[in-house]
Symmetry: C2
């Protein structure tokens, strides 16, 4: 059920050169790094945390192999002492994180690593990579789920996601965000995500007639979904009706799928044909070029569509395929650190985020020092201690999905809208954290620890 | 040196349901599927073929395991007969493809699979996924290489690529496209790509002073590149100069890296400071928010930058993170097939592409029937026959990279420009292929085989 291992050398070379220097200098004091987004992507009201499971799998399993060491030695960059020490390196630190499915805002830590500097530095690239894409795509997928208003949405994007593990991670992230399932069988095998899919245009084309293709496929899979747009969508629907009228219960179809053309008009015309034929129980699925905006427009126009297959635009997050996410040093050796350049300000020290609720809805967050006790629910949980995963770091997929639904439902309605909220959600910095920042600036006007 | 195995169940569920139907119907005649892009992404003049190596690895190794079968059985969708047959399935077909690094245009097959229908259908999702992202990112990276005009470009995007294997595939694709290397150590280990990288802001911050950080790091790695913008870029450069003047040969620095701010102005000011101090040999590297357009603008403005680290915008292909790529049935059982709906037209039958050259530059392509012999160089090569890889399917990375450089250099200069060419490159359809299409339309006015 777990993810494929992340290679220990999946890291930027500079992590390794820094490690050699840190060890040579004896700089092994505890460091704290925050993962956060400097700003929300344009048009988004919040992000949805995702990817923690893979980060913890990676940290638990971190070990550099003998072959890795041989490769590094071949570069001629590293000392023999360093390579021996690297071979023994394991991750022994603590991790605090938002649960998967938790909404978050700019500057709020999604995850914090606290570990001896070399360990905390070494895992930067993998931690960022493993959180970035799942959080990015879950945040997008959640919008599609909102747009679909309770209708099933299935992930169809395996072929366009950026690689095999992106496709599988995507299916998982979208399931957490509220999708009903995925066409991606490997995602189903690995994570138990419901899988869906029936037939493509090629199957219809390879038969002498569309009628023959429909009849034979439905015989194999009674109650299936038939793709009706290979040649002409409404002719396809008429063939479904003819077959049903001719073959009766020997031709059972659960749904028709429209994959091209004016989906709204075709859905209305298909619904009318099916209903007139007494096939009111045959549902209409739509796919092809969908995203949250297209779905919202179709439904606003009254398109009688019962479910959506959504691929490329969401799986590659076409409108904004990256987050402005960073992994920033916020403390070293017990001292606060910060980079204080304008626009790249980071908040010093380990933190907690408190979310206040009013009338059951989130009313505002406060980013605070980790040891403060402010009103509201603390969002960051300890998920790994001394390199060992805690119960809070072992959350099943179903629970993460339920958590996402529950937490998103607790956001103000304006944030759940596809449009940018007129007023951004209030995120405050606690007095103590502001004071810490002021102290840091006083001590290091340009930044430092 | 090879890629991690692609799970056999990395496929869309509909491939498997179609397989069960094909086998039940005895539809195992040879099918031909083309992979092609329906159109070029906006603003691009051509694509660069990439990803073939991974496709062939995947096809060679294709085998469904007992565990996979157990999972599929648990779905309750498939017959026992089908699952037994699936367990024995291997890929025994032929593959024709463009060599990695070959420029291509809309509608030109990047790869053609010819195999018994169930095999050819089964591999659709993986083949598309494995070609799509490498071709997408190599096509973008090639533009960055053009913009950099011979200066070294290094891939810095491991943390933002959509997953671990995307990051590794990206480093490989960008190296083929002409990058000098990558920060991604796993890509270096796996493919022998040159790796680069020295130090991050966190290292500088963790030291009491920037000066101390510089001195200690250069002591560990003489001739290194120092990141000078942690606090103030020009102050950082001045510290490098002071240290050099104080410590002489004990402080050797090969380059400084600027990672924020107005890179052009800072590069000019840094160059002036270094030159005035007699440090003309210290190079200037730039990174942070770069893409082909930013690099072109910097260099057009005379920024004295010697090399670039480029990440997010290229690794996620931020301006257009997908290709309109399809895997289309073009023949079945010896008959041409096509989907003839407007805008989704596919050209029937197996094909060849001929590229004509005039004065050493490509002058036009013709998409033809595979058995035609037209003027020009045939671009599609047989890389796999009967499921066995041929010599043309075993091209080393260095050769693919050299091929890309040579083939791109053979394109008209207007195509190599970052701007859209005033006239698109001429791609014709051969008379015989047009005639085949006319015959298909006459026989199947709405499409079919």
């Amino acid at each position: 059920m777990s993810s494929p291992p992340v290679p220990a050398l999946f890291t930027d070379l500079y992590e390794l050169t820094m490690l050699q220097a840190y060890w040579a200098e004896g700089m092994t004091a505890p460091a704290v790094f925050d993962v956060f987004a400097r700003k929300l992507p344009p048009g988004r009201n919040f992000l949805l945390a995702c990817g923690l499971e893979q980060v913890l799998d990676c940290l638990e399993a971190f070990a550099v192999s003998g072959q890795d060491i041989d490769y590094l030695r071949s570069l001629g960059t590293f000392s023999g002492d360093f390579l021996e020490r690297l071979r023994a390196l394991r991750f022994t630190g603590d991790v605090h994180a938002l649960a998967e499915g938790m909404p978050l805002f700019a500057h709020e830590p999604l995850l914090t690593v606290e570990a001896p500097m070399p360990e905390a530095q070494m895992v930067e690239t993998a931690v960022l990579n493993l959180l970035h894409y799942p959080t990015l795509v879950a945040s997008k997928g959640q919008r599609v789920v909102q747009a679909a208003g309770g209708r099933a949405v299935v992930d169809f994007g395996a072929r366009r996601a950026h690689g095999v593990d992106a496709a599988v991670a995507c299916a998982r992230a979208l399931y957490i965000a509220g999708y009903a399932g995925s066409s991606n069988v490997e995602a189903g095998r690995r994570y138990g995500i419901p899988v869906a899919g029936t037939v493509a245009h090629s199957y219809v084309q390879a038969h002498a007639t569309e009628q023959e293709a429909f009849e034979r496929f439905a015989a194999q899979f009674p109650g299936t979904t038939l793709l009706v747009d290979t040649y002409d969508t409404l002719d396809g629907v008429r063939r479904v009706i003819e077959l049903r009228q001719r073959l009766g219960e020997r031709f059972r179809v659960g749904a028709v799928r429209l994959d091209s053309g004016d989906l709204g008009a075709l859905a209305k015309a298909s619904r009318a044909l099916l209903d007139a034929a007494g096939l009111g129980e045959v549902r209409i699925m739509a796919s092809g070029g969908l995203d949250e905006h297209v779905i919202a427009a179709l439904l606003a126009d009254g398109a009688p569509i019962d479910g959506f297959g959504v691929g490329t635009a969401v799986d590659v997050v076409a409108d904004r395929p990256y987050l402005d996410a960073a992994y920033k040093l916020v403390a070293y050796g017990g001292h606060d650190c910060g980079k204080l350049s304008p626009g790249k300000l980071s908040l010093p020290g380990r933190k907690q985020v408190f979310r206040r609720y009013e009338n059951g809805l989130a009313a505002g967050d406060t980013i605070a020092r980790h040891d403060e006790n402010l009103p509201g629910e603390p969002l960051l949980e300890c998920v790994m201690q001394g390199g060992r995963r805690l119960a809070a770091g072992r959350v099943g997929l179903a629970e993460a999905r339920a958590n996402a639904a529950a937490q998103v439902a607790r956001l103000p309605a304006a944030l759940r809208d596809l449009q940018p909220a007129a007023e951004p959600y209030p995120v405050a910095i606690s007095d103590a954290l502001q004071a810490a920042q002021a102290r840091l600036i006083a001590a290091h006007p340009v930044g430092g620890c």
